[in-house]
Every structure is written in C-alpha cells, then in structure tokens.
Symmetry: none
Subunit: 215 residues, 2 copies
DNA sequence: AGGTAAATACGCAGAAATGCGTATTTGGTG
DNA sequence: CACCAAATACGCATTTCTGCGTATTTACCT
C-alpha cells in the first residue's frame, strides 16, 4: 500500500528539495502540497493523507499551530516537522502539538525516507541531536511559563563537555583523567568558560549554564 | 579512531548475541564486559570506554543504578540501554539516570551498530516505539516512583540556610558577611553539611540538596 | 598559502576551600 | 539544675581552585 504524503512548505525551493528527497521511493505518493498551514488544513479534507512533512515557519498559519489542528481533526495523520530550528522552544511546542517526528532540513534523502517509514511503523524519528535535546527536556522539567531567553555565550562543544563534568562535583584531576587531557588544560577550559559566562567560580558557572539550558 | 565499547549483561547467551551484533565493524573494539553493574563500574577505571551497552535487569546492581553512577563518575561515557522492557517506568528512569539511548534487544545488528555510531555523534538512538513513548512522557508529565522521595539527611534549618547561600556561588567570606557570622563558622557549617550529605565539595552538596528538594 | 578558532599544555602566585581538631555560648528539655 | 543539640569561633595543614600569562598543534576556511 502506497504511503500518501503531504508537504507544507512556503519556500518553493525547499519544497522542491523535499519532493526530490522522496522521489526515489516508488511506494511514496505525494498527494498534496501547501504553502502554509491554513492551505494544508483545507487540502486534508480533499485527500487521504498518511504523513505530513511540516515546515515550522510559514505565513498565515505556522507549522506548529497547523500540527495542533491536524491532530485535532485527523488524529490518524502523522506529522513530521521539517525545519531549520533546533531550539528547545520549537521542539517542545511541536511535540506538544502532536508531532511524531522532528527533522532538520539538512537531513539526507535517505534520512527523510527512513523517517517516513519509521513514523508509519509507530516510531518517532528525530535528527541526531534533536533526540538528545528531547531527553534533556525530560530530564530538566520545563517551566511552562513564558520562554526565558537562553543564551549561548559562545561556548564551544568542548566547553560544554567540561561543564557537564564539573556539574558532578569532579575535581580538575578527575576530569582530566576522564577526558584524557592534562589538568592544566582542564583549568584553561574552565577559565575560558568563566570569562565567557562572566563568572568566577564553579557554582556560578553551573548555575548560569543550567539557567540557559547549556547543560 | 576505534570505538571502545563495553557491555553489561548478566545473561551469557544474550551477551554473546550482543557481541555478535557488533562483530561486523572493524573499528568497534569491545574492551570490557561485565555480568552486573558493580562489576562494570570496577572495569571502567581500568579501561577507557566510549560507549556502554547496558542491560537493565542484572543482579547485584541493575543497569539503571549503574548508569546513574557511570554518568556521575564518567560523564563523558555514553550509555545505551539494551533491554526487553519498554514500559514507561523503566524508560523514564533510564533517561533520568542519564542514558543516551534506549534499544530493545530485538533490535537488529545494523540497528545496534547504527545506534552506537549515532550516540558517538551526539544523537540519542531509540528503537521505534521507544521514541514515541518518550514523546508521550514529555506530553503527559508523570512523576515516577522514586523521583519524589526526599530525604532530610538531618540537616538543620541553619544548614539549609547555608546551602541557599552557597548555591549562589558566594564565597565563605561573603556568606559570613551576609549572615553576620565568622568565616570560620561558615566553614564549620559547611563541613557539617558535607558530613551529613556524604559529599566533599560544594557542587556535590548542592546537587544532592537540590535532588532532595532541600533548597 | 595565510588566517583563525579551538584544543592542547605549562608555570607562577595568590585565593579559596577542605579535613580535622578543639572550644565556648546559647536555648530548650527532662 | 543538668544535659544536649545547635550555633558560634579559631587554628593548622593540605588540597583545590582561580587569575593571568605564554605557547604549540590541529582543523577549518578563505
């Protein structure tokens, strides 16, 4: 049985790219496209659809609101977000709205194809990195209140790794052993972190990093 | 660079099956195996390990407790649960303990191999079905047993007051000034706190106090 | 090829924290 | 009143952390 797919994407170039990614699969049938959420909702009453690939940022009605309504009116339809945004806010909103999957647009053709099949099979495909953010959302209960501004402070991946070691109360020596670097390097990294976060001790650094969801 | 893998699995048949699933990859190096969590913890100080494939149900120390301790002592090590249980309780507990991935034992060899690589790349691989349960957990917040148990540790009101000062990253001097006591007294209080919480530094104390909702 | 950011590493000086004692004062309780 | 827990305070030795430099190597980008 062919998989009936709809795509909501306002950028025609991105839409074309998306269609191409699915073109290799003979059992995939692209039954509808729309340039915004409202248009997509309208087409759903005209076409049977299994899966929607949904952009988030669209005019008139964005992908998250559209997802919410799709799941309300057609709960059997699976929605996979396909977007460039990987911030907690959008991820959480999309999941809350009922999205089954969350892919970044940089995802490969095979990745998108597999995501569609996974979704049909009851899975919840996510780009690498998205899934781990989802786990972090679970670990650090979100305050449903307004979105606090999270800042990056220009921390590198390695520096965040150092912070994760720090948060367990490990000494520089122990961290150095864990990461196979010298204690002096650990110290250097941490000093850089302090400078970037504008703090001058572990506890403050961890507090600030945590408040900004860096760890 | 080879990927150093450890496996914790009490059933020798399942262990063998797991090893076989990884056998095809020339750059995978199985550096340690253990029949329970305690044994695994011991081996981690002897071998550099990138990823642990962890069974949940094991004697002596189960996989979730082991994961908790591994992430505590070696945060850089990624843990992938490999189990037959797919209930919310176990999934959530594993994630809370710090697991990066969650696979069912029925997972194919390719699936396990890909999961290991995904994890190294910062992803969070989950068997189809697990991921969607995770999303459901996020949508319907539940407080699992064991996450609301708070312990007092015999801390006095004053000691908790000290902890609240500590969590802001203040120095002993500054806290002393805030509370109108001598730095020596601050030190004494904090030493008493450490003894009661069985830790030996600020970060661990704050972490433990926070986990038990003392601050 | 040159420039840049990141990760690695070391040294020195000083500040802060930690471990382990001891001691006094205070407030409440039996 | 006698007792006890809690809060207060200090000292010494040691470990750990922090600030501020410098320097090399690697990877990536132009």
């Amino acid at each position: 049985m062919p998989v009936k797919i709809a795509i909501a994407e306002d950028n025609s170039f991105a839409l074309r790219a998306c269609i191409n990614k699915l073109a290799t699969e003979p059992d995939f049938k692209q039954v509808a496209t729309a340039f915004n959420g409202d248009e997509m909702l309208g087409k759903l009453s005209q076409h049977a659809v299994d899966v929607i690939l949904m952009d988030i940022m669209m005019p008139v009605m964005d992908g998250i609101e559209c997802t919410r309504r799709v799941k309300q009116q057609h709960p059997q339809i699976k929605v996979i977000m396909l977007t460039t945004f990987d911030d907690d806010e959008n991820i959480l909103n999309a999941i809350m709205a009922g999205a089954s999957g969350y892919l970044l647009k940089e995802e490969s053709a095979e990745g998108v194809v597999k995501a569609v099949r996974d979704t049909i099979d009851g899975g919840a495909p996510m780009s690498a990195g998205i899934a781990s953010k989802v786990l972090n959302l679970l670990r650090n209960p979100v305050i449903p209140k307004g979105h606090e501004t999270t800042e990056n402070f220009g921390l590198t991946a390695r520096e965040i790794e150092l912070l994760q070691q720090l948060k367990n109360g490990l000494s520089y020596e122990h961290i150095a052993a864990n990461l196979f670097i010298s204690p002096g390097t650990v110290r250097k990294h941490i000093n850089n972190i302090y400078t970037k976060l504008q703090v001058n001790n572990k506890v403050s650094a961890l507090s600030k990093a945590s408040a900004n969801r860096l760890i």
